[in-house]
């Protein structure tokens, strides 16, 4: 699964720490998701989408093999 969290953060001018605080997770979690080491739960994906004011599908997308 791919995501555009890094781009969305840049648009909103948020650091990984800012985003982590906004959705109540650790900084490591945001970093692990951004670097594709961890796939977030639906709840977390929805929370992130809400921060960016977008739909989950705009941020997360399937890759070949998923």
């Amino acid at each position: 699964m791919q995501n555009t969290i890094k781009v969305e953060r840049a648009i909103k001018n948020l650091t990984q720490a800012d985003l982590a605080d906004k959705i109540g997770v650790s900084r490591q979690t945001i970093n692990a998701i951004e670097t594709n080491r961890y796939i977030p739960s639906t709840i977390l994906a929805l929370k992130m989408a809400r921060v960016f004011g977008k739909k989950v599908e705009d941020i997360f997308s399937l890759e070949k093999g998923d």
Binding site: T15, Q16, A17, A20, G24, V25, S26, R27, Q28, T29, I30, N31, A32, I33, T35, R37, Y38, P40, S41, L44
Partner: protein, 147 residues
């Protein structure tokens, strides 16, 4: 979040502080035959136990296990689903590596040396878990905080 078995975060540091003296005590009691005299019990009218028994090594081993348990089960400042996932995966690694090492050890070490290995083996699942868990946390630290 879901992990109900965790201790408050400060237990990580309490565990680290306790681990060091118990490690020293363990090494001294195993290799230098150091004993705390106050921990000797005399059972002259008992046939089951050896008449003179010193509990220094028992104290050292219990202390080592307890301090490692505190480090392993201390809550992170912000527990969430990724950390929960990291915990489970790290236990998986700990069990797997522990038994693979044990297979190697049983072919490589014999007699007294194997007894030593078995003693370390009592602690290795906890140690491997702690190292693996914290390595993943460190690797995923945001780059803006690494500097």
């Amino acid at each position: 979040m879901r992990s109900k078995l965790l201790l408050p975060n400060r237990f990580k540091w309490i565990g680290i502080l306790l681990f060091i003296p118990f490690l020293v005590l363990g090494i001294l009691s195993r290799y230098k035959e150091f004993q705390i005299d106050a921990l000797t019990s005399y059972n002259h009218d008992n046939d089951i136990f050896t008449p003179v028994q010193n509990f220094t090594d028992e104290l050292a081993l219990s202390g080592l296990i307890l301090s490692l348990l505190m480090i392993a089960f201390a809550r992170e400042k912000q527990e969430d689903e990724f950390i929960y996932h990291n915990r489970l995966e790290s236990w998986e690694w700990a069990v797997l590596i522990n038994f693979l090492l044990l297979i190697v050890a049983c072919w490589v070490f014999y007699n007294e040396a194997f007894i030593d290995v078995m003693m370390y083996n009592l602690l290795t699942p906890l140690i491997i878990f702690i190292v693996r868990f914290h390595w993943v946390m460190l690797r995923n630290k945001p780059s803006e905080e690494k500097n």
